[in-house]
Symmetry: C2
Amino acid sequence: MPEAASAPVTRTATGAGEFDRDTAVTRREPGVYDIDLSAGWTIFGAVNGGYLLAVLGRALADALPHPDPFTISAHYLTASRPGPAVVRIETVRAGRTLSTGQASLFQYDEAGHEVERIRVLASYGDLGSLPDDVRTTATPPAIPPMDQCFGPEDGPVLLEGGSAIIDRLLLKLDPATLGWALGAPSGRGEMRAWFGLADGRDPDPLALLLAVDALPPTAFEIGLSGWVPTVELTVHVRHRPAPGPLRVAITTRNLAGGFLEEDAEVWDSTDRLVAQSRQLARVRLG
Amino acid sequence: MPEAASAPVTRTATGAGEFDRDTAVTRREPGVYDIDLSAGWTIFGAVNGGYLLAVLGRALADALPHPDPFTISAHYLTASRPGPAVVRIETVRAGRTLSTGQASLFQYDEAGHEVERIRVLASYGDLGSLPDDVRTTATPPAIPPMDQCFGPEDGPVLLEGGSAIIDRLLLKLDPATLGWALGAPSGRGEMRAWFGLADGRDPDPLALLLAVDALPPTAFEIGLSGWVPTVELTVHVRHRPAPGPLRVAITTRNLAGGFLEEDAEVWDSTDRLVAQSRQLARVRLG
């Protein structure tokens, strides 16, 4: 874990961090973008789904007339690997306040043929143009101060096994949702954490796409171990996040038939609910 | 309201009801389906979004190698009207246990050009093949018996204004979430109801796509009136529903910036959670 994650964070401007460097896409022609998927955002060799969604979200922001993802739905088809990829975008509709786009990310098989990894539908708008009314009944998650929470650097059991992504993230888990790491899962489908980028780069809407899929799976606290691959993930970005660390709370209500849903809420440093997401995931017992 | 909705329901077999008739698609060629959107499923002239999703879901079930929608995400582009429409489907990936498809519904402008109404991404599987394990913490909604709940036939204020869809549905709202109809909204973003098809046709996975978007909007109980058009709706179908009426609970936690999310849970007559959905909707003040 780099020094920044455990020491007081030195801020990096949005646009100048590891996340910006590794999500940068190059426009080959209108609607077609090249990227080299970074090995720095992998978990056990597979590229993290939230990082991939941020890559697609960034290409869509370039291609569509509006800058911010309001709602983005991704269906994960095959596992992505570090290396070259191409993103192909279709503008489905360009409206006054919302535009809708479709994006696919492809990699190449051994014969050089394109293999689709993810397909995305998204509606974009301008978060800066929204009225400032808030009539929410949601409340921020009860999570202890960051110095009372635990990250991968605090114990070998957390996300062990050489997951490069943990070096990119500031992730501090609420001890109340860490029973699984001590062999005593709570049985409740809850996980809570402080979240940021390890280099201190402040959150923006694209970083929220990463935040919703960065915690250990709720399945661990239900008492399952193993791989929980995402089938589909939809994120609503509701407000531009303020500078500073985020709090992420994920919950699962329904584990049944070998599938579960995982809902995430992301709160910024001003106690504003900035993103909500839900994914459907498969349970592959370890 | 037809007799069936207030009298004891006479069951109609799945496949032989109004819902089956009005969602029937005709295959023109592989991946292309024609349908005449029925005026029977409109609200104030616009075709209901859940009915449209069921139409697309039915075409996808025909085109894909798996029969049941596991997760289906729809982005609503322009308002659909009763009349001819064409559905175009692309099979994105056909896997062993899941297949993914994309579907678009088009209607025709005055010059006869296709105008896209909805675009959908969906992953299909076989609900009958899932293991029967259930480790859920979700509990069915607290809702009084059906004879203590209220439908459109019980008062002119409920969904007044000539919405044809109310003749197709058995909809009985929990009086605890009916404050809005009496001019005294609770301020809580909750709505609960018994739900079925008015002709007694039992629910199936396609009917669940209708059920999640059939209640009055939670915005009414928050104290807003007016139109709440859906931007995006994602439904997870988790189990094949048992015969008999469904219970639907919808909640909104975050109304902010002119948008809100609406989460639905659908429970069958055996207390099984059969579907979960979330939509992002715009608030257009009335």
